[in-house]
């Protein structure tokens, strides 16, 4: 007989946040949770709405789907976090993997019958434990172990265990018990019938509108359906009602499919004797890379990210990850990128299996290679290869290029971005809105203070000293007046400083040797405040 656990994680999103804030660590061994009211919010229905709450928030009357404004009325200093369904799903996937210790057959359950699908509060997992329970002694023992684990991680949960998924689902969510049990087991099909009879109609995983209709007829609990003739119900509410009922009662098969986290491009190699030497790992890796690349080629795909998972004999796992700046399926190149990292692998007591998977791929067509090896394409190819190696060795944050930024201050008008990052789609202008005057070819990181003789209040320089030489100005253009960004100034001077003391007048000047400089005067002229001069760059 099939045995299915439906695990319900009612405060999953909040538990995950607690994790992040007070994750179990040396500093916080008790796994203490935030005991102030806490909620996650999202934008829905023309406003900010609560998606999940912790028990403290619930205690002050804050519930999911409430608007944030209402919640704040109840508790002004409510702590809120933006709901992050992607991160929730990721965390749920990790939990799913963890649960694979009970059965290889675990699936994520995100059925939500609420009209606005803003929350994950109905989140749960399916565990098909058919034939697995004896490994733990009994079903009861398995559940005990499961809940011990969940408690340790910090997830609140409830579970139902039955021979049909439908019944298990309903039990987990709607069965209440005076002894506040966290899980409910129903043993036989007959037992199911009695067990779920008194549960509310919502336990049937039906659309909200159907449940409301049934409730309107006075059909409040699942058992009420047992007594009603079937045809009129179907006529009024469609097939799904009885379909779900039959599934729950076991009269109709319901198949669920487990999700495995493996990507489509994945290769597996197991060893009879555990390996540990670097050469062995490298050899195994090479074999995997080659066969993975064959798969990729057949699918016209190239890898952007590869993950190598090592399963050690002590049941722990290790992961190594590489990423590329372009889609790739060149075995030598990919192996080389991995080799840069192999030294960080700790084989532990030995590795008995390795899995290589391409977690991120992009389309990559088969390309004809040219005869002329010095073609531009080849050269760029080489640059890219170099980039990949540099990135792989130094880390992606340490290999950078410059990108224009729309800021008036010249030193802020560009920024460093990771060399492998995809260029942002917005085409940005290097020079600014006026196109003219152009910026110097060479910009000093730190402008240098210089002595200048210039006309007051805002005339161009006549004469300046640079590298111990007096230089006479024969041509000057300007000023270009730039006010620093006031919102970056901390302290009380933010309203005046950028406009007076910090304002810059830039001049493009040429000395009599034909050299061109970029100078600026800092601060506006004022009888008791003489501006200072700086050199900031050189033109060609």
């Amino acid at each position: 007989m099939r045995r299915v656990i439906s695990l319900w994680l009612p405060t999953f999103a909040i538990d995950r946040i607690n994790h992040r804030a007070y994750g179990k660590s040396q500093a916080n061994p008790s796994g203490k949770t935030i005991d102030k009211p806490l909620a996650t919010i999202t934008c829905a229905h023309g406003g900010q709405r609560i998606t999940a709450v912790n028990s403290a928030a619930q205690a002050v009357g804050i519930v999911p789907k409430q608007s944030l404004a209402d919640a704040r009325t109840l508790y002004p200093s409510l702590t809120v976090h933006q709901a992050d369904p992607t991160a929730d799903l990721k965390a749920l996937n990790i939990l799913r993997e963890i649960c694979e210790r009970y059965t290889p057959w675990v699936a994520i359950d995100t059925f939500d019958n609420t009209p606005s699908n803003v929350s994950l509060w109905n989140t749960g997992l399916w565990l098909n434990i058919t034939g697995c329970a004896h490994l733990f002694g009994s079903e009861e023992a398995l559940l005990e172990d499961l809940f011990y684990l969940l408690k340790n991680i910090g997830y609140q949960a409830r579970a139902g265990l039955a021979s049909t998924p439908g019944a298990a689902w309903a039990l987990a969510r709607y069965k209440t018990d005076p002894q506040t049990k966290l899980w409910f087991i129903s043993n036989t099909n007959e037992d199911i019938r009695n067990c779920i009879a008194e549960l509310p109609m919502k336990g049937l995983r039906l659309e909200c509108a159907i449940i409301e209709g049934l409730e309107r007829m006075g059909l409040l609990s699942i058992g009420d359906l047992y007594r009603i003739p079937r045809a009129p119900i179907t006529r009024r509410f469609g097939k799904s009602v009885l379909h779900r009922l039959d599934q729950a009662l076991g009269d109709l098969e319901e198949s669920l499919s487990p999700q495995r986290g493996r990507s489509t491009f994945s290769k597996y190699l197991a060893f009879i004797d555990p390996i540990g030497r670097r050469e062995d790992i490298e050899a195994a890796l090479n074999r995997l890379v080659v066969s993975l690349c064959t798969d990729l080629e057949q699918a016209n795909q190239g890898a952007r990210r590869l993950v190598l998972t090592l399963y050690r004999v002590d049941k722990s796992t290790g992961k190594v990850q590489i990423s590329t700046s372009q889609p790739r399926r060149d075995p030598t190149h990919l192996s080389m990128l991995f080799r840069e990292k192999l030294e960080i692998i700790d084989p532990g007591l030995g590795i008995d299996a390795i899995v290589l998977s391409a977690s991120e791929t992009n389309p990559l067509k088969v390309r004809q290679t040219g005869l002329n090896t010095n073609s531009i394409a080849e050269q760029t190819e080489n640059v890219i290869k170099l980039l990949d190696r540099l990135v792989s060795r130094l880390g992606s944050d340490n290999v950078t290029r410059l990108e224009p930024v729309e800021r008036h201050l010249p030193e802020l008008a560009s920024r460093e971005v990771s060399a492998v990052s995809i260029p942002s789609g917005v085409k940005q202008d290097w020079r600014g809105p006026t196109h003219y005057p152009s910026r110097p070819l060479q910009l000093l990181v730190h402008p240098l203070r210089i002595d200048v003789i210039a006309e007051i209040p805002d005339g161009p320089p006549f004469l300046f000293y640079w590298q111990n030489h007096q230089r006479r100005v024969i041509a000057a253009e300007g000023p270009e007046r730039i006010t620093p960004e006031w919102w970056l100034i901390r302290g009380n001077m933010w309203k005046t400083k950028p406009l007076n003391n910090d304002v810059r007048d830039y001049y493009r000047i040429e000395d009599k040797d034909g050299k061109r400089y970029w100078l600026y005067r800092k601060g506006l002229y004022h009888p008791d405040n003489h501006p200072t001069w700086y050199i900031h760059g050189f033109f060609a």
Partner: protein, 1112 residues
């Protein structure tokens, strides 16, 4: 100072572009020694009047102008040289605005160079603004422009400090020489001081919907776009002195002033050969004959003659005729209307039918309203039925044309909350931080400019955070900045000359509405008259009540034919029995009525005016009540005040009195008094108020008044600033108070039906209105598909004493044992109230209309009613005949409207659900559906009363079957709660425990943080007072509960009872259980924490009871 005049001035009326107010520009221009200053906002004259007024105050000349932003060419500055040119410019803007949607203006080069409107710049000085890049396209366009506009055309040049200014100057100079165009210097001014650059950046971000750190090149690189002195400008343009000189040359040419916009009354059609004055006189005497069929009393005759003379003297006849015509139109369409405002309560208006307030009854001096001395135009607002006002508006448009009439604009300005919200966004605060911030403003301090640090801390924010500090600082600066134009509620400007030559006209957001650019203060400043066409829900209600009474009882009533001085009506009001009565139905008014005990019309005038922030803040209420009750002697500080204050027992209550005190006691001239009123009403940020205060108090002290009295008087005047309530308005409103009270007293059934049919309006929701009707002995019947119309209707009761209840209800009622208090009460009270209830009204019952039902549209209801004929006998028949959508039928079933078909709610719903959705197959088309679809019979669980009530509330927002509290009573009784009704029998200071549905939460600004909550149970309502410290303690309960339990001390003043809360309990969860199988068991509350925690899914988040009406 070198003569220079700035021509390119962008004020904050170029919305979100200019960073200074017109008055700031004017002041700064004066400081810099300007002789004149131009205004050139983008395609608008919205700020022109403000600038005009400000410049006058600074004694400099304003040059009216506009920056024309075209769709297909560079922009122009345009300055009209005379009145006609101004008219053409205004018409050009109107043209562009009427083409576009709200707030937009689409103009093309063609409009400027060709066409009759602008006449190729005839009479204008045109300045072309070159683009950043001077390319061949621009040069070609300039050629084209030069060929069309021969005279007075210039090219502007400004120093941008962008590094290449010199090159640009040379290029522009070359261009001008080749076209022989003179150059003119401007500074493209967008702020009066360089410091405003910061605000300008923020405004730019608001406009472009971006954050400050992403704005990049949208922001100016520097702060040079401010007003500069002539010397500085000469230094910047040292090589081009002629460009500076040309500014003065242009200014000298543009001699047009907004003062030249003479207002002329529209010409009303008059009888052949007569002047408006003669026509007015004729109409007035005709009206008088109608009002007094037995001859006009001499006193009235004198009064009319006196008023007519004054009107003639001031030349206001045409204005009165216009009002009369609008009112006449409304009357011809059977639209109820009522004039109010300073001139409305005159004999002339009474005779013309503009108002129904008999001036003989209130003896107001006409001079008080229209005074020759003050030269203030008469002010008449006319209220119309809110559902039909649009007809009147369209009539005015039709009669005078869109070119001669338009609705006044309202300049929507930033308030603290909107400022915080938008600036918070710009500065990158997260949405929830912004919301927390604005929630602080929410609570009782929307107008104050300072947020206390502790409030900010309270919502979990750090007041020392630098970004937050910037946001608060900037928000304070931006308060009062205009944001966009909106339409005034109904202020019409009607002119003799085409209106679009006076001011640009644009489209409003609403269909078929056109609006001018100026608001009422602008119009006031220019002396242009407007007529306020306003909407009033109570007039709709009264009209509907009149119609019902006419239809059912054959009695024709009008506002003026209601019997005056009816003592039963005043008795009712003295009891505080005023739910549904105009103006006096609020909690505060209801508790005031028994204290004030109104016995005549003028008492009502006082009643309306007294419960207002002005008198309350000025602490005028208690002295007045004491004097009225005789416990304090009526005393006048000085003889001269007796004349002003005798009508209100020496206590100033009305705006007019406050003004009069300023004149009589503080030596203000009438003009100054009026200035004082304005200073408080609108231009509040001028900072003139302290000056007036000093002047007022010193004036009164000089005249020998006590400081305390003087300060109190001034405080009251301040209160009027927010909610001015002049006697003239109160007088008009009081009439409607009386009429609605009279209807409620004598025709409660008709009145209740009318008020339900006029929803939404007033203070109460249908549930309370129906409850009130039943308490007054009106039989209310449930909405039903066979008996109800869209509106609530009246039905004949054949048997005067209503049969107790129908069988079905009896059955469900018997299921739960409860006290039938409600029914008993309505019967007991019924006998007493029935004394005044008209016998005809007593024979009618109120049938709820289908409009009460959630999810039923008017069209669907009308279809249902029109095809009803003899009635429907089954759901199937109803579906077949009406072909209404299933969702509509479901909603009808939910509302339990199939009772006359013998179907209860559940069976009706079952039947509706059973109708097949698809059209029948062709083969079976001729068969009746039920003939071949025999179904096994189904027994549905019976509905308990609790479920019925819960469903009633969900669908109708009220239940005639029982009050939710009635069902929960056993629970509350066990917990020792008493009923609201029993509070009246307890002595003051006794400790009580009551519970009920929260109807209203209020935090009046005048009550210093005290919260008033009105709760309702099955026996009645009770008022709670919650002191601020209790509110803090029980915040969640106070704000979050729908079903509130209160333990506290009873306080009684007269017949008004309050409970001062000591402990509060949230019982809302009980409501969710109304429909569940078991009524709440007391153990529920003690459920363990973990269970509570995990039962979110089980928790019913939706309770059936509608939310209370809070803080309005």
């Amino acid at each position: 100072m070198h003569p220079y005049i700035e021509l390119q001035v962008t004020t904050n009326y170029s919305f979100l572009r200019g960073a200074s107010h017109p008055r700031e520009f004017a002041t700064q221009a004066k400081n810099l020694g300007y002789e004149a200053l131009a205004i050139s906002d983008r395609n608008t004259l919205a700020g022109a009047v403000r600038m005009h007024v400000a410049c006058k105050q600074q004694n400099i000349r304003m040059i009216s102008g506009v920056r024309l932003d075209l769709e297909d060419s560079p922009s122009f500055l345009c300055f009209p040289t005379d009145r006609r040119a101004y008219g053409r410019l205004s018409q050009l803007l109107s043209l562009g605005k009427r083409r576009a949607g709200k707030g937009q203006c689409y103009l093309f080069l063609k409009d400027l160079l060709e066409g009759n409107v602008f006449q190729s710049g005839k009479g204008q000085v045109v300045v072309v603004i070159p683009p950043d890049e001077i390319n061949s396209i621009f040069k070609n366009t300039l050629h084209k422009i030069r060929n069309k506009i021969k005279n007075n055309i210039y090219l502007s040049v400004n120093k941008k400090y962008s590094g290449n200014d010199k090159t640009r100057f040379v290029a522009l100079k070359a261009l001008t020489s080749s076209l022989s165009l003179p150059l003119v210097a401007t500074n493209d001014v967008q702020a009066h001081l360089p410091e405003r650059k910061i605000l300008h950046d923020v405004l730019t971000c608001i406009r472009e919907h971006c954050q400050i750190n992403e704005a990049g090149f949208l922001l100016h690189a520097n702060a040079e776009h401010h007003l500069k002195s002539g010397d500085e400008m000469l230094r910047l343009f040292a090589d081009y002195p002629e460009a500076i000189a040309n500014t003065v040359k242009i200014a000298d040419q543009c001699r047009f002033s907004l003062d030249e916009l003479r207002y002329e009354y529209p010409v009303e059609p008059v009888s052949f050969g007569s002047t408006p004055q003669q026509e007015l006189s004729r109409l007035t005497w005709e009206g008088a004959d109608e009002r007094y069929p037995n001859g006009i009393p001499n006193k009235i005759k004198t009064q009319i003659n006196h008023e007519l003379t004054l009107i003639k003297e001031l030349g206001y006849a045409a204005y009165f005729l216009t009002i009369h015509d609008i009112v006449r139109f409304a009357r011809s369409r059977n639209i109820l209307c009522q004039g109010r405002g300073s001139a409305a309560n005159s004999s002339v208006c009474y005779m013309l039918g503009v108002t129904s307030v008999n001036p003989a009854e209130i003896e107001l001096l006409f001079e008080r309203f229209v005074s020759a001395e003050r030269n203030e135009p008469p002010d008449i607002d006319v209220d119309f039925e809110h559902e039909r006002r649009e007809e009147v508006i369209q009539y005015i448009y039709d009669k005078y044309g869109r070119t001669h009439s338009g609705i006044t604009a309202t300049h929507i300005t930033y308030r603290y909350k909107s400022a915080l919200r938008e600036i918070g966004k710009v500065m990158g605060l997260t949405e929830d931080t912004i919301q927390s911030l604005s929630s602080v403003v929410n609570w009782g301090q929307s107008n104050k400019r300072d947020l206390k640090e502790e409030y900010i801390r309270e919502v979990g924010l750090d007041p020392t955070d630098p970004i937050l500090k910037m946001v608060l600082d900037l928000a304070r600066q931006i308060i009062g900045f205009p944001r966009h134009l909106s339409q005034h509620t109904g202020g019409f400007v009607i002119t003799k000359a085409p209106l679009d030559t006076v001011v640009p006209i644009e489209n409003a957001a609403m269909k078929d509405r056109t609006v001018i650019e100026w608001d009422k203060d602008d119009l006031d400043a220019l002396g242009i008259l407007k007529v306020d066409v306003l909407a009033l829900g109570m007039l709709t209600c009264i009209r509907k009540a009149f119609d019902l009474i006419d239809h059912h009882h054959g009695r024709k009533l009008t506002l003026s034919s209601i019997p005056q001085g009816d003592q039963q009506t005043y008795d009712m009001l003295c009891q505080g029995d005023s739910i549904g009565v105009f103006q006096v139905e609020s909690r505060a008014q209801m508790s005031m009525l028994p204290r004030l005990k109104p016995r005549n019309y003028y008492d009502l005038v006082i009643e309306v005016a007294i419960v207002r922030p002005g008198p309350i803040q000025g602490d005028m209420v208690h002295p007045f009540l004491r004097r009225r009750n005789g416990s304090e002697k009526v005393y006048y500080p000085k003889k001269e005040l007796e004349e002003v204050l005798s009508r209100t027992m020496g206590v100033p209550l009305f705006q007019e009195q406050a003004m009069k005190i300023a004149i009589v006691a503080a030596n203000f001239s009438p003009d100054e008094a009026d200035g004082l009123r304005r200073a408080m009403a609108t231009f509040r940020h001028d900072g003139k108020l302290p000056l007036y205060r000093e002047r007022f108090i010193s004036g009164m002290l000089q005249n020998g008044y006590e400081l305390d009295f003087a300060e109190r008087c001034f405080k009251q005047i301040e209160g009027f600033g927010d909610y001015g309530f002049p006697e003239s308005h109160a007088a008009s409103f009081a009439l409607l108070v009386y009429v609605s009270a009279w209807l409620k007293c004598h025709y409660p059934a008709a009145f209740s039906a009318a008020i339900l049919n006029s929803q939404p309006m007033g203070f109460y929701k249908p549930a309370q209105l129906v409850r009130d009707a039943r308490e007054h002995g009106v039989e209310v019947r449930e909405a039903d598909v066979n008996n109800s119309n869209w509106d609530c209707t009246l039905e004949k009761i054949t048997n005067i004493f209503p049969p107790p209840f129908r069988t079905e209800k009896k059955r469900i009622r018997n299921e739960v044992k409860f006290s039938s208090f409600l029914i008993k009460k309505s019967h007991d009270d019924g006998l007493e109230v029935n004394k005044c209830r008209s016998s005809k009204d007593r024979s009618t019952a109120l049938r709820l209309g289908l409009r009460q039902i959630k999810g039923i549209q008017k069209t669907a209801a009308e279809l249902l009613v029109n095809t009803r004929k003899q009635g429907y006998s089954s759901v199937l028949e109803l579906k077949a005949r009406t072909n209404l959508k299933s969702s509509v039928l479901e909603n009808l079933a939910r509302a339990d409207t199939f009772q006359s078909l013998g179907l209860n709610r559940r069976r009706a719903f079952w039947a509706v659900k059973g109708l097949s959705v698809d059209a029948p197959l062709p083969l079976f088309k001729h068969l009746q559906e039920h003939q071949f679809q025999r179904e096994p019979s189904v027994v549905l669980p019976t509905m308990r009363l609790g479920e019925q009530v819960a469903d009633d509330y969900l669908s109708l927002k009220l239940s005639l079957k029982a009050h939710p509290m009635e069902l929960l009573r056993p629970h509350f009784k066990a917990e020792k709660y008493i009923t609201c009704a029993s509070l009246t029998q307890l002595s003051t200071e006794s400790l009580v425990l009551v519970a009920g549905l929260v109807l209203i939460r209020q935090r009046p600004s005048s009550a210093k943080g005290v919260i008033f909550i009105t709760i309702e149970d099955e026996t009645g309502v009770a008022n709670m007072i919650i002191w601020p410290h209790k509110m803090e303690q029980y915040r969640q309960t106070v704000f979050g509960s729908q079903l509130l339990g209160i333990r506290g001390k009873l306080q009684r003043e007269g017949i008004v009872t309050h409970v001062v809360a000591e402990r509060l309990f949230d019982h809302s969860f009980l409501l969710g259980n109304l429909a569940s199988k078991n009524l709440p068991d007391p153990n529920f509350v003690q459920s363990s924490d973990i269970k509570n925690n995990l039962s979110i899914a089980n928790k019913k988040t939706r309770t059936p009871i509608p939310r209370s009406r809070d803080f309005k």
